[in-house]
Amino acid sequence: MSFMPVILWSDALVFLLIAAIVAAAVHVRKREHLMLPWKRVARSSVALVSMLVLSVFLVIGLLDTLHYRAALPQNGSEKVYSPEVLSAFDALVGPLRTHTEKTYSAPFALHLYAKESMRDAQDNVVREYPRLQYGGTHLADEAERDMDVLQRALVGMLAGTLAGVMLSWLLRRRYTQPALTIALVLLAALIGTIMNLSAAYHVLGTDKVGQDVLYLSLKSIRTGLIIGTLTTLVTLPLALFLGVAAGYFRGWVDDVIQYIYTVLSSIPSVLLIAAAVLMMQVTIDTHPDWFDTSASRADMRLVALCLILGLTSWTGLCRLLRGETLKLREMEYIQAAQAFGVSSMRILSRHIMPNVMHIILIALVMDFSALVLAEAVLSYVGVGVDPSMISFGTMINGARLEMGREPMVWWSLASAFVFMLVLVLAANLFADAVRDAFDPRLNRTEGQA
């Protein structure tokens, strides 16, 4: 085998999460009353379009989760694997990763962004902007660049549109909404354009060490998604169990749980997270023998960050669930169960939990975008992910120096900003649609028919 699959901690947790989602989907599909709100989601064109955009991010994130170590050229009998952990996504976009320039270059530039001493034809030393090693090297004449960019963009757009039209034709049975078709074609055209251009140019420029910013932005997606989803694995059991227990049992159980979350939420959360992250950092640094690659160390830091974020952010959902349970426990079906002497644990699991599921779902989808943003803020402050891990936060953190540079380097920050905006906006729009579909307080006329 020319490579060895590597399953990092975060990968394992992502697979666990996917398994849980698939199991839940199978469960829901079999029950019509649970399917009903999802059908309502599927009828909303905003939800479908935002889901489409989200799924592009999800696919990139998932591809980036399949990690491996490539085998090195053999010179002995023993197989040796590279210490560098790559992902399926890296393999797919190969040149994007390997085409590293010397330092900054602007989007679509042919030259570096910094002057260097060079020798010209007469062997004089001149300070000039040197040509890039990879960006636009196929051009003989630099004046042809604009024409070439336009041409490549058009070809890519055409190919993308064609693919989009074919895809929507394949899906015409299942989805008939015009908004979705239009969005699909537009998105495919955009992806086609970027793909075709990025083969020859650095579409979003390069950063300080010459890495392609498009590649960095795409790699950041996984970090954002992981923070946004894995944190819920920690939040959910805590919030669900404590919130439901506090609401159902009341009395001293309620008092204890309420005191815990009131105290927790009155400590400034950034302070709490910073303290925890710094402690974790020290622990990891003093035990280098725990990790065989630098990627696994960075990954452990990411998982630990999720854990810390989860431990500090369950209070909101917990409070919400406590309130809902307080309402539900007065319902007559709960009293009917009590009249039969059904045990408390059974009442909690059979009667209360299924009836608070919609709140959990709404809260999770809404929290997702908040967590993606929280990661950026924390990494900016310096208590986020490992500096070697590519994330929106580290990109923005780097931009701190770039913005003060003369002339200014704007593209790193701009692309991190745009990517994050699109991701969070899509997530928020989707969350809105989910909330509308699941909210029992909204009046609906379809239910009566």
Partner: protein, 665 residues
Amino acid sequence: MSKLLKVDRLTTRLRNGANIVDGISFEMAAGETFALLGESGCGKSMTALSILKLLPDGVENSAGEIRLGDTALERLAEREMREIRGGRMAMIFQEPGLSLNPVMTVGAQIAEVLALHKDMYGDAVLVRSIELLTQVGIPDAARRAQEYPFQMSGGMKQRVMIAMALAGEPQLLIADEPTTALDVTIQAQVLQLLRETQQKSGMAMLLITHDLGVVAENAHRVGVMYAGQIVELATREQLFAKPLHPYTQKLFAALPDAQRNGHTLAAIPGNVPPLGSIEQGCRFAPRCDRAWALCREQMPELFAVPGGAEVRCHLYQATGGGKNRSATATELKQTALAARPESNSQNPLLQVEDLKVHFPIRKGLLQRVVGQVRAVDGVSLSIAQGTTLALVGESGCGKTTLGKALLRLNQPTSGQVYFEGALIEGDAHRNMMQMVFQDPYASLNPKMRIAEILEEGMAALHIGNDSAERQAHIDELLDKVGLARDSKWRYPHEFSGGQRQRIAIARALAVSPRLLVCDEPTSALDVSVQAQILNLLRSLQQELGLSYLFITHNLAVVEYLAQEVCVMYLGRIVERGTTQEVMRAPRHPYTQALLSAVPRIDGAGRQYVSLGGEQPSPANPPQGCPFAPRCPQAMAICSDKFPAMTHAKGGTHGVRCHLYSAEPN
């Protein structure tokens, strides 16, 4: 008399095309009360909202004309309509607690109407609001005007709503179920107030209700609605003397009362059809036992019969299939049931002695107990095998708390409960007593299938050895309550209110209890469905020898179902006896007032005992007899001492009142 409101072929529909209100036409004269009568979901409220042009999202007015005086309302723009609403037309809603703004004083809310429609400002507004509040019978109006809605009781809030409606001096008042959320004695007060104000001001009133009694008291003319259409239009006298449409006839027949005691009620099978589900033929045909082929093919027109009434039924059309209506008009299906078992008080199944349920009121940082809410305060009663004891009282009198205390859903503070002579402690009696709850929409878990709901109790109490045995038992239960066996694989939301209540009864029966505590099991249901459930309860009693503790505020149901009655007021039983004794010859002033407050459909010969004020809070009960402050016959001793139970000659009829203490036993 000139017509004030003319509604012509009004049609209101959902965006998806289903007609909620389908071609309604009626007229109203000034000073007249027109009642729209019908079960829930038949389009009464939508008709009212269409007239006011206040339809909710997704519902639109698609056809028809509405004329108020000379104004064609359907052509008015929203801005012009605002002048009409509150000015020439006003509306009172069902739930007084939700229709007043909680952060404004009631005076300010009335002042708002005055400023908008009467251009009144400053002191004039204040004087006028106090005048209005006095007019609707609010004592100490000047002080009350400065109060917020939460400081007032339900009946008081509904009076404020009426005052607000009157502030614009409307020509037409639309009252949407104005008394449904209120207690019987308060309902009587509000209905009387509405009658009086109407006589004084000469406005017309569109009264929307499901209660035949309310119609009998207040209406001049009646339109009976069914599935979005008016099926019968008549004056009150015509309607009550001789209902024409089979639906109206059945509504009357479905009303429980003492005359039908011993017979099954003529329940209307099935439910009101969902909107837009019947496109062809008469909408009542599927539930009508006199429908024939024509009824299913052709929709009958509203047709005037000799005598002035109008009816939408093929039976009365000249070409109506040759049926003789006089022969069928009064034919009601009544099956005599076997004689009821005599009450056997020597050997009671359940005996309750001096049961008290107090809830502590805690205050302050240390949660010290500063007082007690005496929800149930020393109640003793007994129920014999196979009989029904009705527990009657207004909301807040502690009757539900008592029922729940018997099942230990509340912990009793003191007192003993004996089941077949054995003292009950802890959970050991779960399979002996079960409960049927009030609201069938809240009492079934929406996320569980019927089979799971029914099996839960059996599993918890270890009844039946394995799943197969329990499933067989579930099939049996569904047969018993009249549901199809395959319905056990469905979810509660697929059933109507009546069917849900059947499921709730089946759930209680699953553990084969001897006693059912029924907590207002029919109050959330329509009249026609109520009859089905009452019939079911009776036949189950005969079949299984069940005893019922029937908690209710509906006195008509008491007469139909119960052998014995206990009347409860503020946590105590004030009168007890057999149904005959209590209903025919009430002795306690409260029972007398309660009985006289019930609107009767026969109307005549009722002596109305007016009851001032409302039930005091059980946290702070009055000294002595709790009823003394409202009692028209209160004496000096009443506020000193709570009277003991005095028994009349037969020994079964007891009453706690000083009026009778002096009598020899």
